[in-house]
Symmetry: C2
C-alpha cells in the first residue's frame, strides 16, 4: 500500500490528465521510521536504494530524500555517499526526541527504556520539584493543580487519568525553569503513557496517587522545597510499582 492510499483524502475527482499530489512527507517519514522500528529494515542493514524506496512507498525521490534527511538528523540512519543508507544501532537514536518516541510506540518495552526512564526520573524529578517549589509562578502552580483536579475527577476513565498525570509531570518539569529538565518531558510522557495503562486499574492505587499529587501541589504553593522533594520521592515509589507491573505484563525483551 502506497502512502497516498494511507492518507485518506484521495476522494477528489481525478481531473482528466491532472495528477493528484497530496501532502505525504510526514506519512512517508513515519512509514520508514516505523518500518525501521518494526525490524522491516533491521539494525545495521542497508535500506533499499532511493529508487526502490520510491517504488515501495509510491512517492518521488524528493520526498524519500527529505524523509531520510529527517531520520538521519535523529540518528536512526546514516547515509554514506555512493554506498547507501544504513540503520544505526539503537544507542545512536535520539530517544529523547518526541517524534522518535512516537515512532517507537509500544516497542518502548523492547528497548528496556521504561526502567531507564524510571531511574532518570528518580534522579531528576525530586530536583525539579525543589526548583519548582522555589521558582514556579502562580500560573504554573495553577496549571499543575488543574492537572491534579483532572486526575481526581477522572474516576474510572483510565485514558483521562493518564493524560492528566502526564500533564502534571510535564507541568512540574516546566515549572522547574530548567531547560534541560524541560527537554526530558517528552520521554517521561512516553514512559508514563505506556506504563500507566498497564496498572492503575485498582481504584485504591489511584486514590493513593491522587493524594500524593495533591500534597505536592500544596508543597509548591507553600514554597516548601523539602516537602516537594519528599512528595516526589513517594510518587516515584508508586510509579516504580506500576512499571514493574507493566513490564511483567509484557513479553520479555529477548535482547540480542
Amino acid at each position: 500500500m502506497t502512502v497516498q492510499e494511507q492518507s485518506g483524502r484521495s476522494n477528489a475527482p481525478e481531473g482528466e490528465g491532472s495528477v493528484r499530489r497530496p501532502r505525504v512527507q510526514k506519512n512517508v517519514t513515519r512509514a520508514i521510521a516505523t518500518d525501521i522500528c518494526a525490524d522491516v529494515f533491521p539494525i545495521g542493514a542497508f535500506l533499499p536504494t532511493e529508487a526502490e524506496l520510491c517504488l515501495r512507498y509510491g512517492v518521488s525521490r524528493t520526498v524519500i530524500r527529505e524523509s531520510l534527511k529527517i531520520l538521519e538528523s535523529k540518528g536512526l540512519v546514516r547515509g554514506r555517499s555512493r554506498v547507501g543508507t544504513v540503520v544505526c544501532p539503537k544507542e545512536e537514536w535520539n530517544i529523547l526526541d518526541q517524534q522518535v518516541l512516537e515512532w517507537i510506540g509500544p516497542r518502548i518495552f523492547e528497548l528496556d527504556l521504561l526502567t531507564c526512564v524510571l531511574d532518570a526520573r528518580r534522579a531528576i524529578e525530586p530536583f525539579a520539584a525543589e526548583f519548582a517549589a522555589e521558582r514556579a509562578t502562580v500560573q504554573e502552580v495553577a496549571e499543575i493543580e488543574r492537572a491534579w483536579q483532572a486526575m481526581r475527577d477522572a474516576e474510572g476513565d483510565l485514558e483521562a487519568f493518564t493524560k492528566a498525570d502526564v500533564a502534571f509531570h510535564a507541568g512540574l518539569l516546566k515549572a522547574s525553569h530548567n531547560q534541560v529538565f524541560m527537554q526530558l518531558a517528552s520521554i517521561i510522557q512516553a514512559a508514563l503513557e505506556f506504563s500507566l495503562h498497564a496498572s492503575n486499574e485498582a481504584a485504591d492505587a489511584r486514590d493513593e496517587a491522587v493524594e500524593i499529587h495533591r500534597r505536592l501541589v500544596e508543597a509548591l504553593r507553600m514554597r516548601d522545597r523539602a516537602a516537594a522533594r519528599e512528595c516526589s520521592h513517594r510518587m516515584l515509589d508508586i510509579a516504580a510499582r506500576d512499571i514493574a507491573i507493566a513490564v511483567r505484563n509484557h513479553p520479555a525483551p529477548a535482547e540480542r
Copy 2:
C-alpha cells in the same frame, strides 16, 4: 559569500563546460543554523523564501529544502505550507542535540544554559556514578581511567585537559548503562568545553580536580556506590566554582 566558497576545496581545475558540484549540504545547514543563532534571522521572524535562500547561499532549492527539513526536525524552525518558515522560540529548540549545540557554540552563554546544565549534572551525575559503580565493565572503568591519566598528564595544556575531562564524564555516563543519561553526554560535553576554558588556569585547582577524579575511578573499581556518589558531589562543587568564574567573565546575557 556562497557556501561553495566557504568549503575550502574548490581548487580542482574547472573542466571546460563541466560544473563543479561539491558536497554542500552540511555547510548550508550549518550556515542557516548559525545565522539563526546569530540573530540574522531573529526568533519569530520569517526566513526568506526558499528562492531567496537559494540566491543567498548559492545552492539549489533541493539543498535548501533538505537543510530546512533538518532544522525543522531539531525544532529550530517550523515550516507552514505556502506561508513560509518561521524561527521557533528557543524553548522549542532541541538543545540536547549534539549538532544544535555545535551551532549554538559560544552563544551557550547567552542562553543561561550553563547553570541549567550544572543543576542537571547535580541531579544526574551522582546517580550515574552509583550505577557505574554497580554496572560498569572492566573495559569501561579502564577507559575512564585512561581519561583520568590524560587529565593528570595534561600539565599546562588546557586544551588537552578539557578534552580529557570531557572524555571522563562521557565515559562515566556511558558506564551507567542508562540510555537516558547517555543521551545527556552531548550537552554536558558542550557545557564543560565552554566553562573549563575560562577557569582551570590555577595549577592547584587542576590538581584538586585530578585528585577527586582519581578517587572516583578507585570507587568504581571497588564497586563502592556510596564513595562514587560522594566523589561526584565533590566534583560538582568544584565545577560550580568554574562555571561561576566562566559566567562572570562573560558579557551579561541581556535577555529580552
